[in-house]
């Protein structure tokens, strides 16, 4: 079956991306243009699946191409130079998630589990952290070795299992998608106003009620952050803003977890009449032994702390990286997309007489507008 030549090129570049440092979008765009033009040259002016494959073959194995084109590839310890970037990135993701989960577990554990005697204490905190990181690293090395064995018989043009695994590292550091930023904006504004509604104020527990305004305020600030990402994509101001908000949420979570489940009542309708219904009393009166609300609250707080800590870690990696590249604080950044970045700005340097639409031999069509 003939494949789209552009799809072949995109698939190849996704594999190359795995081996490149973060923020290598410019390099990938250069490589993409190179492959398209090479494929056209090979195909006598037209790009076909065959000519695209030929161009890809000339560029070579993705990890070798990534190292050649990026001019990187320093060996770190026992890690071969071509694997340095993806291994560091995947370790970064694992360690980052490890830290994020440890912080969240600490917040939850210290605040709820210890007082009610489920666990005696969070074991050896914070010394348990380097041990859990070490265990993660050992797991990574074992997985890395096992997958490498499974990839031995793969053809060079096939995506390897190792590349799929390394892809996790790339995904973990992708910029926020525009749809996610829009979601944060809508959720922040909508939920912020929702929890402030007078009808809802009556449902809150007396312990939670004084904090409703603060929660709503943070939701609105989160909406503002979503708006900034929606308008300007990923840049240092937005990353710092997100990290700062993450810190506030983590600190606030240590308070909220002790406040307990926010709802004491729910509205119920009995024959057309609305009345308040005590949630906990329902479980007590019906002799249901398991009251789930504290567990639900614990899960919500856990997720808030994990995501906030992860954003803080990502920002602490990306902001210095962008500063090192001389990007400053504010610029029109990128959003995460399925395919490679399509440029937004247009800088016209040369005249172009290309037709608006190109149809290739194998039926592939490409707009050039």
């Amino acid at each position: 079956m003939t494949k789209d030549p552009m799809k072949l090129i995109e698939e190849y570049l996704e594999r190359v991306k795995v081996y490149l440092p973060l923020a290598s979008e410019d390099l990938l765009m250069e490589m993409r243009t190179h492959l398209i033009e090479e494929a056209e040259a090979v195909g006598g002016g037209q790009m076909t699946a065959g000519s695209a494959l030929m161009a890809i073959e000339r560029m070579g194995d993705p990890k070798a191409a990534a190292n050649e084109y990026a001019g990187t590839g320093k060996k770190v310890g026992p890690v071969p130079s071509e694997y340095t970037q993806p291994v560091l990135r995947i370790l970064g993701v694992l360690v980052g998630f490890g830290i994020a989960f440890s912080i969240a577990a600490y917040v939850i554990g210290a605040a709820i589990l210890v007082p009610i005697g489920i666990i005696a204490s969070v074991e050896n905190w914070p010394f348990s952290l380097p041990i859990s990181i070490l265990v993660n690293i050992i797991f990574v090395l074992l997985i890395f070795g096992g997958i490498s064995l499974a990839d031995r018989n793969k053809m060079p043009s096939e995506k390897t299992l190792l590349e799929s695994f390394f892809g996790i590292g790339t995904e973990g550091f992708k910029p926020k998608a525009r749809s996610d930023a829009a979601g944060e904006l809508v959720f922040g504004v909508g939920f912020g106003f929702f929890i402030l509604m007078p009808q809802l104020q009556m449902l809150y527990s007396s312990a939670f009620a004084p904090f409703v305004g603060a929660v709503a305020g943070l939701l609105f600030v989160g909406a503002l952050k979503g708006a900034l990402f929606l308008v300007a994509g990923e840049n240092n101001v937005n990353l710092i803003f997100e990290a700062g908000l993450g810190v506030i949420w983590i600190l606030f979570s240590t308070v909220l977890i002790n406040v307990g489940f926010p709802l004491e009542y729910a509205w119920v309708n009995n024959n057309g009449t609305w009345s308040l219904f005590n949630l906990t009393e329902f479980f007590v009166q019906n002799e249901i032994p398991f009251i789930p609300f504290d567990w639900i609250w614990m899960f919500i707080i856990f997720m808030i702390v994990v995501t906030s800590a992860w954003r803080l870690i990502v920002a602490s990696i990306k902001v210095p990286m962008y500063l090192n590249r001389g990007r400053g604080l504010w610029w029109q950044g990128d959003w995460s997309k399925k395919s490679l970045r399509r440029p937004r700005r247009r800088t016209k340097l040369v005249s172009n007489q290309n037709p608006n639409y190109r149809v290739y031999h194998d039926g592939y069509q490409e707009s050039e507008d």
């Binding site: 552009m6 410019d26 390099l27 765009m29 250069e30 490589m31 993409r32 243009t33 190179h34 398209i36 033009e37 090479e38 040259a41 000339r58 560029m59 070579g60 070798a64 191409a65 050649e68 084109y69 990026a70 001019g71 399509r342 440029p343 700005r345 247009r346 800088t347 016209k348 340097l349 040369v350 172009n352 290309n354 490409e366 707009s367 050039e368 507008d369």
Partner: protein, 119 residues
Amino acid sequence: MSKADQEMDRWAKEVKRGAVTLAILALLKREPAYGYELVKRLEQKVSFLQLEQGTVYPLLRRMEKRGLLHSEWDYEIETRPKKYYALSDEGRRALEMMSRTWDVLSREMNEITTGVGMQ
């Protein structure tokens, strides 16, 4: 591979390393070019260099970092944006000095090698 072949390989690599920077600067003085264009021009004009295509891109980036080149993206065709490289003032000055040195070197080397029946 004989020792002479090995020596030739080593020597050629060293000569190419120095020559390719000069070749790129000279080609870019004529007109700005993007990566692929430059790779093709180098292939056509300086067969001796026989550059791997992956060699040119990191070199361009290094030269840009050193202030010899500046670049600008051309998004005329959205599906294939091109990063155009052009000489900076520093690059122009470097090219002048390197060209003069190259002229002297090639003239003197010609004199030396002609005398031993190599030309």
